[in-house]
């Protein structure tokens, strides 16, 4: 196994540099200059420069954040959207580990890995947005816990969930490094990690929405309601699964050489089942949305410009993909399901951006638009994550088969 040689190569510096350069190449590739590398490396380098300016001169130097819009693209995209679309991990863990649907076995690891990377990177990106990041640990250690704050609860759930995802993924690490005894221990801990992971997910997915409960006077009444936390949880279920469908359709092309036969054979079948779960989740979501309209008596607002925008989000990006998911699952059409998944993802993105930017202070003439530098930093975060993702997929048994000694038992 050449994994062994990789590990020993790290031991001296020259070896390390060679090792590092070789790691930049896609596995099996001859050259560093692949299209992916050529596009992403300049963006990441530019992003790093912008991040240094941000720390040297303050948030105002690179962002369009203002006293009126204290939260911008970095919170709206990286945190709200990133977290919602990473929801697939806890949903599939529930279906696979708790309900025992064995057929999800081939994708469970890659989904957990995606979840773990999303949380590490997007929550990590939060540090860039914090004005006083050197105090960030005050949230976890110290004697001034703001227990009445939703954000306090979200921070803790966030942190613990990232840990539990790491534990869920750790057996793959152990298989890669050939640590049989560690692997046994880690495997025994999986169910515990999953149970806590689901609990923590419900808490923080809802909590991220719960943050906006305090912005009652600032969010358009069509979007503000006491249901925000519940709507965030529900939309993280179908948003997260749609993301799994979307990512799956891309990685099954890009990482074809790494895929086990089990993965290939089961992939379409799994996608069909996920489409049905999505449709179910979206039905509940729409029901809650109707309940909210009735409860808050905001029907009349639908015929205002903000109301049309609301309908674009709810009809265009929930009702229509719901119908497409059902139609696709019925006619067993992968194409239809993929379109539905993309529309759903757009819908979740719109919803989160609406709540934190567009319907936020809708009455104000001042608006927030991200600077190009904010966009580049966001891209940097996403692309760096893709680099790490590619590195791991190409080495560890994520979509490929586990080594012989670990076969058959990493089910449960």
């Amino acid at each position: 196994m050449n994994e062994k040689t990789e590990v020993t190569a790290i031991k001296n510096l020259k070896g390390f540099i060679n090792f590092f350069l070789s790691e930049l190449k896609p596995k099996g590739g001859k050259t560093i200059f692949t299209p992916f590398n050529l596009i992403t490396v300049p963006i990441i380098l530019l992003g790093i420069i912008i991040i240094s300016i941000r720390f040297a001169r303050g948030l105002g130097a690179v962002t369009n954040l203002s006293q009126d819009f204290p939260w911008g693209l970095w919170i709206g995209f990286d945190v709200l959207i990133g977290i919602a679309l990473a929801g697939g991990a806890y949903v599939l863990c529930f279906i696979y580990y708790i309900l025992g649907y064995e057929k999800y076995h081939p994708i469970i690891r890659v989904v957990v890995l995606n979840g773990f990377l999303a949380y590490s990177f997007y929550a990590g990106a939060l540090i860039l947005d914090l004005g006083r990041p050197w105090n960030a640990l005050n949230v976890l250690i110290g004697n001034k816990f703001g227990v009445s704050s939703v954000l306090f609860m979200v921070a803790w759930h966030f942190f613990l969930y990232t840990l539990s995802l790491l534990f869920e993924f750790a057996p793959a690490l152990a298989e890669w490094l050939g640590l049989k005894r560690v692997w046994k221990t880690l495997n025994a801990m999986t169910l515990g990690a999953v149970v806590f992971g689901i609990m923590l997910s419900l808490g923080h997915q809802g909590g991220v929405g719960g943050l906006f409960l305090l912005a009652k006077a600032k969010i358009h009444p069509l979007w503000y309601s006491e249901f925000i936390p519940l709507l965030f949880v529900t939309s993280s279920i179908f948003g997260g699964l749609s993301m799994v469908i979307f990512e799956g359709s891309i990685s099954s092309k890009v990482f074809r050489h790494r895929m086990s036969d089990e993965y290939h054979n089961a992939h379409d079948q799994i996608v069909m089942s996920m489409a049905k779960v999505c449709a179910g989740g979206m039905f509940v979501y729409l029901f809650l949305k109707l309940l909210e309209l009735n409860h808050e008596a905001t029907w009349s607002l639908l015929s205002t410009p903000m109301g049309y925008w609301y309908l674009v989000e709810v009809v265009g990006c929930v009702v229509i993909p719901l119908w497409l998911f059902l139609a696709g699952a019925n006619s067993r059409s992968m194409g239809t399901i993929k379109i539905a998944a993309v529309m759903t993802i757009i819908g979740v993105v719109l919803n989160r951006l609406n709540i934190c930017l567009i319907a936020y202070k809708w009455y104000s003439s001042l608006r927030y638009y991200p600077t190009w530098m904010e966009v580049v930093v966001t891209l940097t975060v996403v692309l760096t994550e893709l680099w790490v993702y590619r590195w791991i997929i190409n080495r560890m048994p994520v979509v490929s088969d586990s080594p012989e000694w670990a076969k058959g038992s990493h089910e449960k």
């Binding site: 006293q67 006083r132 960030a136 939703v150 809802g206």
Partner: protein
Amino acid sequence: MDRREFLKTIGIGIGGVACGDILIPSIVKAQNAFGGNEFFGVLVDTTRCIGCRRCESACAEINNLPAPNLEDRTVLGKRRETSETQYTVVNRYISKEGKEIFVKVQCMHCNYPACASACLVKAMHKIEQGPVNWETNCIGCRYCMVACPFDIPKFEYNSPMPKIQKCNFCWEKKVSQGQHPACVEICPTEAIYFGTRREMIEEAKRRIYQKPSKYYHQIYGENEVGGTSWVYLAAVPFEEIGFRTDLGTTPYPKLSKGFLTNIAVIDLVVPTLLLGISYVVKKMADQQENREEKK
């Protein structure tokens, strides 16, 4: 899971929901009194304000902020917000009768501050004597700015070591030493009046009773968002002079309290439920296997 265990789990769940409100320590304390003490308040009578803006310069002086140019009356031309270098500003409005009305703006020092309930490290907090103040253990997340219904906390975007800036009720330099806030001291027309909050409400009511035709019959801040330490009197309805009158009377921390209670319950009940389900599913799968083997 046998039946007894199942019932026990359900019981704990229902009990948890029922007790949630008792178990979670109340964040909301009684009006006017905080930890048993009456707290301070200020009454701003906009009918007395002449728009001299000396409160702005007194504020700048005591807080070491750039001094405003009082000669420049053009700033009154448009509505200004407080900023990270101006903890208070005076705005001019023209009433329907064409009269000038001046309104001083600063932190309202809410009885139940939204910013404090938003803060995850208690950097923003209301002290017993009334002022809502900021400490340096802040992490700079700016959730207080999202939460504040009056948009008061301001962030230093152009500093690598930013602070949250806002009116601090002159607590450290004045009020804690038995003096009045700088703006109150300098006001030439006694438009700003300092005392305990209860006294302020009483004084405001007395003024309305004595001159009912002079005042619009509302004390802004008496009940808004659960009451504020700074309260206002005016001759015209408050929405005409830049106040939000759609904020309601519910204390802001209550908006998220129900949700926090639910989360505590979810964190207790969900793991038990999940373990139960997984146990049952496994049992059923085993039984199925046994049956198939027997065949």
